[in-house]
């Protein structure tokens, strides 16, 4: 088990390294005069050259990359070229916010998907068809459209949730819940669809197995058969789908954060990439890569716990 984790971590580190290098090259080599872009058209050539020197753009690419890596290893990701704020501050102040959204959406997706998948697989008939229909609908409707509809209904017409903004959990847990409820629901819609369909399929397979017949014949209640035994075996593939969805959720969070004015990583990502704020973009890529690696590792461990056969690989 220990070796498994170590190997996974090693692969994760390699992934983060490759991603950082590629992003660095893309950002600096994408052409255009970076200093001039920051200073605007009105700036004089002298000011542009001064800025170039200040940002270290007149040094060779490899030196700049080496510097970034060595600083990053010590936790110094530089300062934003536009706001002057240290990148590590910008990211750490927003990380919890985006994670609240994304983890919340993952949990909600998982729970609702399990309920829908189980209902579809066990009841069959009209319930099954309904769930399949809802899955297709969930895939088809874009998350932000759902978001806009939800806000009008549940935040403005009825003052149930907050229409915009984010309240920290430390400030007020109930207000926090109220502020992330709608964004989380908007993000979950797409995720539910995929996972529910997967659970339905895997559960149908599992329920056809011989051991299920044996368990039933030994007098176990249907609820125990489904939840304690069959679902556990069906969960594997669904968990993989969920892990993939999680990564997609990070991208969906960008749009949702804009619409709900939530101060997360997504909001700053749009600004930073649009302006070409390279230190901030590098910091974001690093943060997101680390999150994805950690989540995938967690999912792999969870798979291992669910299904011992997976542990030996």
């Amino acid at each position: 088990m220990f070796r498994f984790v170590l190997r996974r971590l090693g692969a994760g580190v390699v992934l983060v390294a490759v991603l950082s290098t590629l992003t660095f090259l893309l950002l600096y080599l994408s052409g255009g005069n970076i200093a001039r872009r920051i200073l605007g058209q009105q700036a004089t050539e002298d000011t542009v050259l001064q800025k170039k020197h200040e940002l270290g753009l007149d040094r060779p690419l490899l030196t700049r990359f080496g510097d970034w890596v060595s600083h990053a290893a010590h936790g110094n990701l530089g300062d934003s070229w536009f706001t002057g704020q240290p990148v590590s501050d910008a990211i750490s102040s927003r990380l919890a916010v985006t994670l609240s959204l994304v983890i919340g959406a993952t949990v909600v997706s998982a729970v609702v998907a399990v309920v829908l998948g189980v209902v579809a697989a066990t009841r069959r008939g009209w319930a099954d068809r309904l769930v399949q229909f809802l899955s297709v609908l969930g895939f088809a409707i874009p998350g932000f459209l759902v978001a806009i509809g939800l806000v009008t209904l549940f935040a403005i017409k009825i003052h149930l949730f907050k229409p915009t903004g984010y309240v920290q959990f430390g400030e007020s847990p109930t207000q926090w819940l109220s502020s992330i409820a709608l964004p989380v629901i908007a993000l979950s819609v797409g995720g539910i669809a995929g996972v529910a369909a997967q659970i339905r399929g895997s559960l149908l397979d599992a329920l056809r197995q011989d051991y299920v017949r044996t368990l039933r014949s030994r007098g176990l209640s249907e609820r125990r058969v489904v939840y304690k035994h069959a679902l556990r075996n069906a969960a594997g593939p669904a968990l993989s789908v969920l892990a993939i969805q999680f990564v997609g959720l990070l991208g969906g969070a960008v749009i949702v954060e804009q619409i709900f004015a939530i101060p997360g990583l997504g909001q700053v990502a749009v600004g930073a990439t649009g302006q070409g704020d390279i230190p901030l973009v590098m910091g974001l890529v690093l943060a997101i890569a680390v999150i994805v690696v950690v989540v995938n590792l967690a999912v792999d461990l969870l798979q291992g716990w669910l299904n011992p056969k997976v542990r030996v690989s």
Partner: protein
């Protein structure tokens, strides 16, 4: 399933009890009480909170919250004393002497002196602000006495006093000059202090009352929060959900919805929109060098129809690039070129283009496509074929300034002083005179505007306006109306020369 349902019901009830939508704090008992919270919305976060890098327009409220400027403006752009109490120019208007207040302290305890003021001006002139050219004519600034500031100019600048009332005149504590966190932790003498603990850079800025502020009657609230809402949808939701007291609407698409929800709208005409006919000497397209062709273009386009189709009637038709508050403004010029397709055709024939002519215009991917379709249609009806070249938003300014086109659709601010407008759009070195065309008559009039007495300058400005309209240097259609939205408990007075109202003009109602 029973326990799950019960738990779910309990959760819903809890959320309903303390769910969102609560209004932002209690309003003060009246203007100047300095209590309560004002929550504003802004389209963009501040580029820099350091005075030397400060921007203006939609970033003005951030700067005004923490900094005092040397001067103030009335809502219709007349100059008022502020940190500077009196001022006067020398005979040839190249030396401005200002007497300053002596009772102002920055929030870190440093005293505001003439020397500090001089340093701030020079830092802005040499700094990173997009408006640093506001102080381009400043040769030097010194303190001739602890309370006397002397500014020397390379040439007279009629707009200088206006700039000193804005970001160019923002005064920062000398102890904060060059600090590592200068851009995010401002130190000024203004009505509020940035609460860095509650602030999330780029999203939410929280300011608390400055307890030692010298102009307490301008402190209308105890706390000011400025949230960044970048899309119209977010703005509308925040307004309707009672989460914000005032913001500058990104566009006019939600006006009806907001009015129906009881939100007040304060309209404001800051920009003019229409065509700029750059190539007045015919360098790129000889046709545009002929005044009759340019006049034909003015007759060919139906301004009323443009206003209705493109901005849904939000604005006022105009025929001049100077605003109604400008000394150059003349209402008669608004009807100089009524919509007259036949007249347009006649002028083109007189110019020798009876069989038609082709012009190339840029088409931007911002702004409604309606504009470009309609321009093509109207000019086509008069015999002018329009060829469009696609230009991306990021490249728009660069392409215009290159210059790549003889004419273009655009939208520009109507500055309060004729000097500003002349230097921005008319003079031979103006930014938007992209072919740098020199016209001796224009140069003479601009000189009078720059150096003449107020009366002489006013007359010259009117003459300049008439000349520019007669010569059809532009084809203005209308002034665009923007709207500032505010909830029922907030009163707002729009600033005639700025996109965002000035902070002290936003007050609790009653």
């Amino acid at each position: 399933m029973g326990t799950v349902a019960a738990a779910a019901a309990a959760l819903v009830v809890t959320l309903a009890a303390c769910g969102g939508g609560s209004s932002s704090g209690s309003a003060g008992a009246g203007a100047g009480t300095g209590t309560g919270t004002l929550t504003l919305g802004a389209l963009v976060p501040p580029t820099s909170l350091a005075a030397a890098g400060a921007n203006w327009a939609n970033e003005a409220p951030y700067i005004q919250a923490v900094y005092d400027s040397l001067l103030h403006e009335t809502p219709d752009a007349k100059i008022l004393p502020w940190l500077a109490t009196t001022w006067s120019y020398n005979a040839d208007k190249t030396v401005l002497t200002m007497k300053l207040r002596t009772d102002v302290k920055f929030t870190d305890g440093e005293a505001f002196t003439a020397d500090v003021a001089a340093k701030n001006l020079l830092r802005f002139r040499d700094g990173t602000s997009a408006n640093k050219s506001f102080l381009a004519n400043v040769k030097g600034a010194t303190a001739t006495a602890p309370d006397t500031l002397q500014i020397t100019l390379t040439q007279p600048d009629p707009a200088l006093l206006t700039y000193l009332a804005q970001n160019a005149g923002a005064m920062e504590s000398p102890k904060a000059f060059g600090a590592a966190d200068e851009k995010t932790k401002p130190v000024g003498s203004g009505p509020y202090i940035l609460d860095t603990g509650k602030t999330v850079v780029g999203s939410k800025y929280v300011f608390t009352k400055n307890p030692t502020y010298w102009a307490k009657d301008q402190q209308h609230y105890g706390t000011v929060v400025i949230n960044v809402y970048s899309t119209i949808a977010t703005q509308v939701n925040a307004l309707r959900g009672g989460q914000v007291s005032g913001l500058n609407l990104a566009d006019n698409s939600a006006n009806d919805q907001l009015k129906a929800a009881g939100i007040q709208l304060f309209p404001h005409e800051l920009d003019w929109t229409g065509l700029i006919l750059f190539d007045r000497e015919g360098k790129m397209n000889p046709a545009l060098g002929n005044v009759k062709v340019r006049q034909a273009i003015n007759y060919a386009i139906d301004r009323d129809a443009m206003l209705k189709a493109v901005d849904k009637g939000n604005g006022t038709v105009t025929g001049q690039i100077f605003g109604t508050n400008s000394p150059a403004y003349d209402p008669a010029l608004d009807t100089a070129y009524p919509y007259d397709k036949a007249k347009a055709k006649q002028l083109l024939a007189e110019a020798g283009y009876g069989s038609g002519l082709t012009i190339t215009l840029p088409q931007f991917n911002f702004g409604a496509t309606t504009v470009f379709d309609l321009v093509k249609q109207y000019l086509g009806d008069a015999g002018i074929t329009v060829k469009y070249e696609q230009v991306a938003a990021n490249d728009a300014i660069a392409a215009i300034l290159a210059p790549k086109y003889g004419a273009s659709w655009f939208r520009l601010q109507q500055d309060p002083t004729p000097w500003q407008v002349a230097n921005f759009e008319i003079s031979s070195t103006a930014t938007f005179n992209v072919f740098h065309i020199k016209d001796p008559k224009v140069d003479g009039l601009i000189k009078k505007i720059q150096t003449g007495s107020d009366e002489e300058a006013g007359t010259a400005a009117k003459e300049l306006n008439k000349y520019v309209v007669d010569q059809a240097w532009f084809n203005p259609w209308y002034r665009v109306a923007g709207n500032f939205a505010a909830d029922k408990k907030t009163d707002v007075v729009q600033q005639s020369d700025n996109a965002y109202p000035y902070l002290w003009n936003i007050t609790p109602k009653g």
